[in-house]
């Protein structure tokens, strides 16, 4: 019995040592629609794969649409596996990374002995499918990767006995400073679509002299369209009270399109007085926008706003830095896991000798 266990544990140690252990990322099916949260999962999986890790995207249904249409072929090269299928293999040395919204899946896999990690990009959704009074730790999830310090502090206060690591999302290569002058287009992105309509309609009623200014709802676009539209625009409007990070404003800043935004409930670290036009009141967004338009039409916007925005955006556009942080993080997870298996192995061997 012990010999068999020793062999198994030795195999686990070997798999961890040569990084052949599986790292599963559970991913939601967006049915071909672009979503920043899903992009981050794929960026993590692809970067790890390209650096010698054995990553697999795990999805719920067999009719999973995939991300090729909006993220590109490169991302479809990551192996995919469906939970519905019986051939899903999970060994103790493997890792499963579950987005915060899948509380019910956490419950379903609580008995699995692999390493379980929560990827919490949106604190606002973390309790959605958890039973009242239940924490991640109840399902064996004691590690959490989140996207910024403010979010970490918030979650830490609720999910006790969980250790946290921070990994900021990577802003894609397709975003960069515009090369042509901006058009009178406002890119708008709000958490709720009704807020988008409310802002647009109110603006046109309050400022009919600007009815020729076009608003573009940035929902459901491919990253290429998204980046092109951002470059076209002369300003972006961002309202997302429960944002966990805020990739849209950063993508906008990298495009040299200034942001008018409402400060979210959790103020992200990148948000500063000089890299955008920020307000705590949603009801004055129209007035700020009208004033901004007037100044833009008169070339009266301070260059510093563009420069500071670009400077900040670029910090999240560094693929090398993202790769280094991510691989270091997973190397540390693997090495911690390996230590556990090695100590277990030692114990069994001592028992055996005894």
């Amino acid at each position: 019995m012990n010999e068999e266990t020793i062999l198994k544990v030795e195999q686990s140690v070997k798999n961890l040592s040569d990084k052949s252990c599986r790292i599963y990322f559970l991913c939601q099916d967006t049915k071909g629609n672009a979503k920043a949260g899903v992009r981050m999962i794929y960026d993590m999986a692809l970067t790890l794969k390209n650096n010698g890790f054995n990553t697999i995207i795990m999805h719920e249904k067999n009719d999973y649409y995939g991300v090729e249409s909006w993220l590109g072929e490169e991302y479809s090269e990551i192996p995919h596996s469906c939970i519905e299928n019986q051939d899903l293999k999970v060994s103790p040395e493997d890792f499963i990374i579950i987005p915060e919204v899948y509380g019910h899946v956490m419950e379903q896999i609580s008995k699995l002995s692999c390493a379980k990690i929560v990827l919490c990009q949106s604190y606002d959704h973390m309790l959605e499918t958890l039973q009242p009074g239940t924490s991640w730790t109840n399902h064996g999830f004691t590690k959490c990767i989140t996207t910024n310090e403010a979010q970490k502090e918030y979650i830490k206060d609720i999910m006790k006995n969980v250790s946290f690591d921070i990994l900021e999302p990577l802003i894609g290569d397709e975003y960069g400073p515009k090369t042509l002058p901006s058009k009178p287009i406002v890119s708008i992105h709000t958490r709720e679509q009704r807020d988008t309509m409310k802002i647009i309609k109110t603006f046109y009623l309050k400022y009919p002299q600007y009815r020729w200014i076009t608003f573009r709802d940035m929902r459901g676009l491919s990253p290429e369209e998204f980046s092109e539209y951002l470059k076209d625009s002369f300003v972006s409007v961002w309202v997302d009270d429960t944002s966990g990070f805020g990739t849209f404003p950063l993508e906008s800043m990298i495009s040299r399109t200034p942001v008018i935004g409402k400060v979210p409930n959790l103020k992200p670290e990148w948000l500063s007085d000089d890299n955008g036009v920020w307000t705590y009141e949603q009801n004055n967004i129209h007035d700020i926008l009208a004033e901004f338009i007037q100044n833009w039409l008169e070339d009266n916007i301070n260059e510093e706003l563009y420069d500071k925005g670009l400077e900040m955006g670029k910090k999240y556009n560094d693929k090398e830095l993202f790769t280094e942080k991510l691989t270091t993080l997973f190397d540390s997870y693997i090495s911690q896991r390996k230590e556990i298996f090695e100590s277990q192995l030692e114990k069994i061997k001592i028992e055996e000798e005894g």
Binding site: L180, P181, S182, K183, P184, I185, Q209, R211, W212, I213, T214, F234, L297, E298, D299
Partner: protein
């Protein structure tokens, strides 16, 4: 990019207009300011040639001779022919010596950022042959009355935002050429304003240029401040002058522009109201 040389065509027919001296001074200052406000990024206007076309009226000539045009290269043209607005402009464009020309009126003002933006857009859109400013119209007291040329940006107007097309013009007439910066070759190739067309001579020219596939774009920057109801101006005269145009006449001139824009030359159209 190379620095830009522009000829500004300014027609003046008389100095007897109300407030002429003050208006003239402001308009010249706004031209001079185009050079002064060159940005640091290298988008700069090198030289401005002021092509001042005047009627030779005695008081006007002596006023012009005594005026300080420092900062501008002046090209004073004494027009001995027709001194209507269209003929004055056509002559001015003909006498201009630069590749790019802008149309100007003495009661208006360029905004200080206009030529700097034109320069930037010429660099960004080399195929565009004419750039319209976003015009701020003011009433007789100088109060904001609205924008003109902004319709090229309206989402429901145009497939390509910012461009003025023949299709857009056939549905919407309210565009202005005051402040426009265009290649002189456009007038040479497709003709200038037609003096026999009243009221819609600007509209007809734009229809003709777009019909001939000239690429025209509005720059989304306030480039021109236009006093659209100065007493004694061409359009004031059409609306409030001794014999204001009737609605029938307005419709006639719009329809006429739509018919005439296929022809390069002015066909000397006459409008006469017949007996009912």
């Amino acid at each position: 990019m190379e620095n830009l040389n522009i000829s500004v065509v300014l027609p003046v027919e008389s100095s007897k207009h109300k407030g002429f001296e003050l208006l003239f001074k402001s308009c010249i200052t706004s031209i001079i300011n185009q050079v002064r406000t060159c940005p640091k990024r290298g988008q700069c206007v090198e030289d401005i040639e002021l092509v001042l076309v005047h009627s030779g009226e005695e008081d006007l000539e002596s006023f012009i001779n005594g005026f300080d045009f420092s900062g501008l290269t002046t090209n004073i043209v004494h027009n001995t022919g027709d001194t209507d607005f269209c003929s004055q402009i056509n002559l001015g464009v003909e006498k201009s010596t630069n590749e790019w020309v802008s149309l100007f009126e003495f009661d208006d003002e360029y905004s200080s950022i206009w030529f700097k933006n034109v320069s930037k857009y010429i660099d960004s859109y080399p195929d565009v042959k004419a750039f319209l400013p976003l015009v701020v119209d003011t009433d007789e007291k100088g109060v904001f009355a609205g924008f003109t040329n902004e319709a090229t940006f309206a989402a429901n107007m145009n497939s390509e935002i910012g461009y003025l097309t023949n299709e857009v013009l056939l549905n919407y007439q309210n565009f202005q050429t005051s402040g426009m910066v265009f290649k002189k070759s456009l007038f040479e190739d497709f003709g200038g304003f037609k003096k026999s067309i009243k009221l819609t001579f600007v509209y007809e020219l734009l229809l003709r240029l777009t019909y001939n596939s000239a690429s025209i774009m509005t720059i989304p920057k306030i480039g021109y401040k236009h006093s659209n109801m100065r007493e004694g101006s061409v359009f004031w005269d059409y609306k409030f002058g001794s014999s204001p145009l009737t609605q029938d006449e307005v419709s006639f001139w719009i329809d006429l522009a739509k018919k005439e824009h296929f022809f390069k030359e002015d066909r000397n159209i006459k409008f006469e109201l017949g007996e009912v």
